[in-house]
């Protein structure tokens, strides 16, 4: 009699958890991709831990605080590693609705990931979309900061350049007005050659530059 009961229970369990069964979810783990050399082997103990985490997640749902580990059924474990799971109610006759299980898993996704050292991409619950992390926008975008720095430098440099240009022009104007004064003075003194009074030049001691002579001869006569 006991054997028959045991057999019936396993059969019912087997029927509750099947690929594509009602309220069943497929889970896929990529342990070696995530951890490389530090990858652990997926055995029945890890399965027990998984069932414990799912039960823990369900216990957080109101009205489901009495979920036990034995209510979580796993089946079809492959080498991939992938398997299907369902959560049954305390009577072990029906499976809990998919929406409840989905919301429970979503709320505790982070903790489940951390227990197995995986993330949303390596521990996949097919058909359960993960909530994406909010975009980490700093209060001021970085590009505005760099832009401000560059723009300030350019404005300062331009102002300095313009100011130095104005100063140069003022100095040139003052210089040219000074030259004008000197020229007026010298004009009153006498004949000029290149702003130097001719009397001071010693014409007798000068040399005639031959280059200029040959230059004239080079020009073709008109």
């Amino acid at each position: 009699m006991l054997w028959l009961f045991f057999f019936l229970v396993t059969v019912i369990h087997a029927e509750l958890c099947q690929p594509d069964a009602e309220n069943a979810f497929k889970v896929r783990l990529s342990i070696r991709t995530a951890l490389g050399d530090k990858a652990y082997v997926w055995d029945t103990n890890e399965e027990y831990l998984f069932r414990a985490m799912v039960a823990f997640s369900m216990r957080k749902v109101p009205n489901r605080e009495t979920t036990e580990i034995s209510h979580v059924l796993l089946c079809n474990v492959t080498q991939r590693v992938s398997f299907w799971f369902v959560v049954t109610d305390p009577s072990k006759n029906h499976t809990l609705p998919a929406d409840e299980v989905q919301s429970a898993i979503r709320m505790n996704r982070n903790r489940i990931n951390n227990v197995f050292f995986l993330n949303d991409q390596t521990l996949e619950f097919l058909k359960i979309p993960s909530t994406l992390a909010p975009p980490t926008d700093p209060s001021i975008p970085i590009w505005i900061i760099i832009f401000g720095v560059i723009f300030c430098i350019v404005i300062v440099a331009t102002t300095l350049l313009i100011l130095s240009g104005i100063r140069q022009r003022r100095r040139k104007n003052k210089g040219s007005s000074e030259v004008d004064d000197i020229e007026e003075k010298l004009e009153s003194m006498g004949t000029l050659a290149n702003s130097v009074p001719c009397d001071s030049l010693d014409m007798k001691g000068g040399h005639i530059n031959d280059i200029f002579m040959t230059e004239d001869e080079r020009l073709t006569p008109l």
Partner: protein, 614 residues
């Protein structure tokens, strides 16, 4: 007369108050910076790849020797001899040819507008490169955070960042959209930088050019070293340089080589004439022309090696990811243990599974992954810099550093070309004497930059990049070729070959030899005529269409091909022909002015006759 021009025009250096270069190196760097631009990075490697790798160098060299160097020498020589900007030079050669100078001036203005817009985009990417992870590496989540934005998922993160987060592009050119304030800010900064460097003419650009012309070479070397050490670089280089000599039979190759040389050296803008006009009169412009043209071509080659090393890395990476995706599909479908199929035994495993379970295999979304396909995906232009290269940079370790270096290099390359463009706009303005003497130079350059900045705000609209394509295709190409043709013809036939050669002998000490004379007389004009005719033929045959980024398109992310609306086609025609109108307009004005002068002379002569009495 043995002398070419009267002695009063043989001015000594500095005596006419014209600004001068501090030293020869500054002048060479400025011309080089103007010639070496973004096209050396993103046009030449693409042409090399499309036209049979190493074999493309043959038409390129032929075009360089018979078209590039002779035309360049002419520009430098007349600028140095006549000591004026482009308008002054042409008016000096013949008053009826003044329109050529005005046309060059207009084209330079139009090109400055849209060339700076590319710099604005580069600046935007540069500013965004200072973060880890790079913003074009991930898709933003959608509004209720259940998944990623759909447009981003279908097109890819890099394309999404370019089309949506940078340009915020509309679906067609009709819908202008709003001005993008981010791009407007970057444009203000970019024009401020240009003004800072150009404010006092060559006095300031001469200092800035030391950095902007040499920095790109430094970065290219760094990238070359880094690129050669990346996996897959050798595949890229082999692919680039494997010559396919058969392709030389295609006339399109020769046309593209000639066009590339022409635009690569930035001929017919008037910028080189302006730069050369600040030289001392007795300067060996022939040697300068050969040096700068050769260095420009070597830079193109150097850049293409770097680019293709990195493209090879990217192709290998993409190929590996394609295989990995297929392997994952197989493993997931058949529940095989992880890492049981490696990239090497993937074909064998696929074959085995296909023979045993073909039905399930047929349902899987398996892509055919071939390295050759990934290497073939060649792009040129902004697509190379903003989509392909940014994606390659994402996979390199230390990505922000490489992104900052790359966009910094692009910005300096573009900036040094902008100096040449602005010189070709400002020098004629100064020479024409429109502004009174007391207006300082900084004010004139400031006004020029302000006008350019305000005009270029149309490119910061959401449809801005479509307009940039319009300007790029129609404003510059045809006009520059026509002006270059007129340049050669004007100098050789109007100014006179003998006169020109005598000038060159006075400047450089040697009469131009047979190569130069034959090129100027026959070869270069013929080549330019050939380019012009093929351009016109291509223009008339090509339908006026453009590629639009339309998320609603059924084949998205492929771009939808749309026809330009009529008013845009009218604008294209206007851009193509407006600069050319200066030629007849100026010749006509000259004719009318001369006739009026003759009439007044006749009147005064008659009056004198009357007054003297007969």
């Amino acid at each position: 007369m043995a002398q070419a021009l009267g002695p009063d025009l043989l001015v000594d250096e500095g005596a006419d108050g014209r600004p001068q270069w501090d030293n020869k190196f500054q002048y060479l760097l400025s011309c080089l910076g103007f010639a070496v631009g973004l096209g050396n990075i993103w046009r030449f490697p693409y042409l090399c790849q499309t036209y049979g790798g190493g074999a493309f160098l043959i038409p390129y060299l032929v075009a360089l020797v018979f078209e590039g160097i002779p035309l360049f020498h002419i520009e430098l020589a007349i600028g140095q001899r006549l000591r004026r900007g482009s308008i002054g030079v042409w008016t000096a050669i013949s008053p009826y040819l003044g329109g050529v100078g005005l046309g060059c001036f207009t084209v330079s203005f139009l090109v400055s507008l849209y060339y700076n817009t590319v710099l604005v985009w580069v600046l935007w990417y540069f500013l965004n490169s200072f973060q880890q992870p790079l913003p074009w590496g991930t898709c933003p989540p959608n509004l209720n955070r259940t998944g990623l934005v759909e447009e981003c998922q279908s097109s890819g993160t890099v394309s999404y960042f370019w089309y949506r987060q940078t340009l915020n592009i509309t679906a067609d050119i009709d819908h202008s959209g709003a001005v993008q304030w981010r791009l407007l800010l970057c444009q203000a900064a970019s024009w401020a930088v240009v003004y800072l460097c150009v404010s006092r003419g060559i006095e300031t650009t001469g200092k800035a050019i030391y950095f902007t012309a040499l920095f790109p070479y430094l970065v290219l070397t760094i990238f070359l070293v880094r690129g050669l050490t990346l996996p897959g670089a050798t595949e890229g280089l082999i692919y680039l340089f494997t010559p396919d000599v058969q392709i030389l039979l295609n006339p399109r190759v020769w046309l593209d080589a000639a066009t590339q040389i022409f635009f690569s050296l930035s001929l017919a803008f008037g910028g080189h004439i302006a730069f050369a006009s600040y030289n001392p009169p007795r300067n060996n412009c022939r040697r300068d022309a050969v040096i700068i043209a050769l260095v420009n071509s070597l830079t193109s080659l150097y850049a293409s090696i770097t680019i293709f090393a990195i493209m090879g890395f990217k192709a290998t990476n993409d190929h590996g990811q394609c295989l990995d995706r297929n392997i994952l599909s197989l493993i997931n479908e058949f529940n095989l243990p992880e890492l049981s199929i490696s990239r090497d035994n993937y074909p064998a495993a696929l074959l085995h599974l296909n023979t045993t379970q073909p039905g399930r295999i047929a349902q899987l979304p398996l892509r055919a992954c071939s390295l050759q396909d990934f290497l073939d995906q060649g792009t040129s232009g902004p697509g190379l810099a903003f989509i392909v290269f940014t994606e390659a940079v994402l996979h390199m370790p230390g990505a922000p550093v490489w992104a900052v270096l790359f966009f910094g290099m692009l910005f300096s390359l573009g900036l040094s070309s902008m100096f040449g463009n602005m010189e070709s706009v400002i020098t004629p303005l100064l020479d024409m004497g429109i502004f009174p003497q007391w207006v300082p130079k900084e004010v004139i350059t400031g006004l020029a930059c302000l006008v350019c900045f305000l005009s270029a705000t149309c490119f910061t609209l959401q449809s801005g990049s479509y307009w940039l394509e319009v300007f790029d295709n129609f404003a510059a190409s045809l006009n520059l070729v026509i002006f270059a043709f007129l340049e050669v013809v004007g100098v050789v036939y109007v100014y006179g070959m003998k006169r020109f050669c005598a000038d060159i002998e006075w400047m450089t000490g040697r009469w131009p030899n047979l190569y130069w004379r034959v090129s100027w007389w026959v070869v270069s004009p013929l080549l330019l005529l050939g380019i012009l005719l093929s351009y016109i033929v291509l223009l008339t045959h090509r339908s006026p269409s453009y590629k639009a980024w339309n998320p609603q398109y059924e084949l998205f992310p492929s771009q939808e091909e749309k026809i330009y609306p009529h008013w845009v086609q009218a604008v294209c025609l206007l851009l193509s022909f407006l600069p050319l109108l200066w030629l007849p307009a100026s010749a006509l004005a000259q004719l009318l002015a001369r006739r009026r002068r003759e009439n007044t002379q006749l009147d005064t002569a008659l009056k004198l006759q009357d007054s003297s009495g007969c």
